[in-house]
């Protein structure tokens, strides 16, 4: 019988990085959020958040929309595919957490 940690091999590295996981987790709970909110909820600096969002956008996980009229505003949302990926990732994480709590290492 394998360990619960074998599931970790399936983990999506793009989403799993801690800062990106915080960003996508917040986005999973809403339709969209603006840049400032993501900065506040993740505690990332502007530069770091921009860099992570670029990676997620390139990976097709999020869409970044910049409004032109009035005050400039950047809105971020998960793409339909990204929402599926992040939801699946969360399922895997919670499964792993539950399995790790119950699992005891075999004696050598």
């Amino acid at each position: 019988m394998g360990t619960p940690f074998e599931d970790m091999a399936e983990i999506d590295r793009l989403v799993h990085e801690p800062s990106r996981l915080a960003i996508t987790s917040a986005l999973l709970s809403c339709e969209s959020a603006d840049f400032l909110f993501l900065q506040r909820i993740t505690g990332l600096s502007k530069g770091n958040l921009s860099s992570h969002l670029s990676k997620l956008e390139r990976g097709g996980i999020v869409t970044v929309t910049k409004s032109t009229g009035g005050r400039p505003r950047t809105t971020i949302s998960l793409t339909p595919a990204g929402r599926g990926t992040v939801a699946e990732h969360w399922d895997r994480l919670t499964r792993l957490r539950d399995a790790a709590r119950e699992w005891t290492a075999p004696e050598e």
Partner: protein, 204 residues
């Protein structure tokens, strides 16, 4: 792999994001202040103070809106069928039921204070929402209001009338106003604690 406390932190962030609008407690503080002020100013059915005061509170509401947008940013919530039902049908149903009950009570010449208290207890219970652990103060408020109403406080007053049944000042309304202000401040505190200020020098 994130450790369980990290997962808990992420779950907390998800919960606050999902209910971001509910945690903007300063709106509730304004409603509480409006209710409290009107309990002292509106007398003998004279609605002039309400008409004059309402624009002030609308302006305060706009200032709070600007404050939240500038300080914490904006979130568009998920429009799930449950959320739509909770945000639209439930309040409308509750209001229709309340006004119907008031009309029936007026026709029967019954004191309507208990209706107001029952309605407000219902409102506080509805506001508990999810995640309930972060909004348990609404549950406490519902209990406090019910206990204050049911307690024989009339025994302590010279007239023997329960303070909630006084015509002026309307103490039932003042109590609800105070509870609104306290709950609003507690919600706001949750938001401030979760959405920490960002250090521009920070690295990750």
């Amino acid at each position: 792999m994130p450790t369980p406390p990290e997962i808990d932190r992420l779950e907390n962030a998800r919960a606050v994001t999902a209910s971001y609008t509910d945690f903007k407690g300063l709106y509730l503080v304004i409603i509480g202040l409006l209710l409290g002020t009107m309990a002292f100013l509106v007398r003998d059915g004279n609605l002039e103070p309400l008409i004059l005061g309402l624009p002030v509170f609308v302006v305060l509401g706009l200032l709070v809106r600007a404050y939240y947008r500038r300080r914490f940013g904006d979130v568009r919530p998920l429009q799930t069928p449950q959320r739509i039902a909770a945000r639209t049908f439930l309040p409308v149903l509750a209001l229709v039921a309340f006004f119907t009950a008031i009309a029936v009570a007026n026709n029967l010449g019954v004191n309507g204070v208990w209706l107001f208290i029952a309605f407000m207890v219902g409102v506080f219970l509805m506001m508990v929402g999810s995640p309930w652990r972060k909004r348990i103060h609404y549950l406490v408020s519902a209990a406090v209001l019910a206990v204050l109403f049911l307690a024989p406080l009339g025994m302590l007053t010279p007239s023997g009338v329960h303070p909630f049944e006084w015509e002026y000042p309307n103490l039932a309304q003042v109590t609800v106003a105070v509870l609104f202000v306290v709950n609003g401040l507690l919600d706001h505190r949750t938001l401030v604690r979760t959405l920490t200020p960002v250090s521009e020098n920070g690295t990750d």
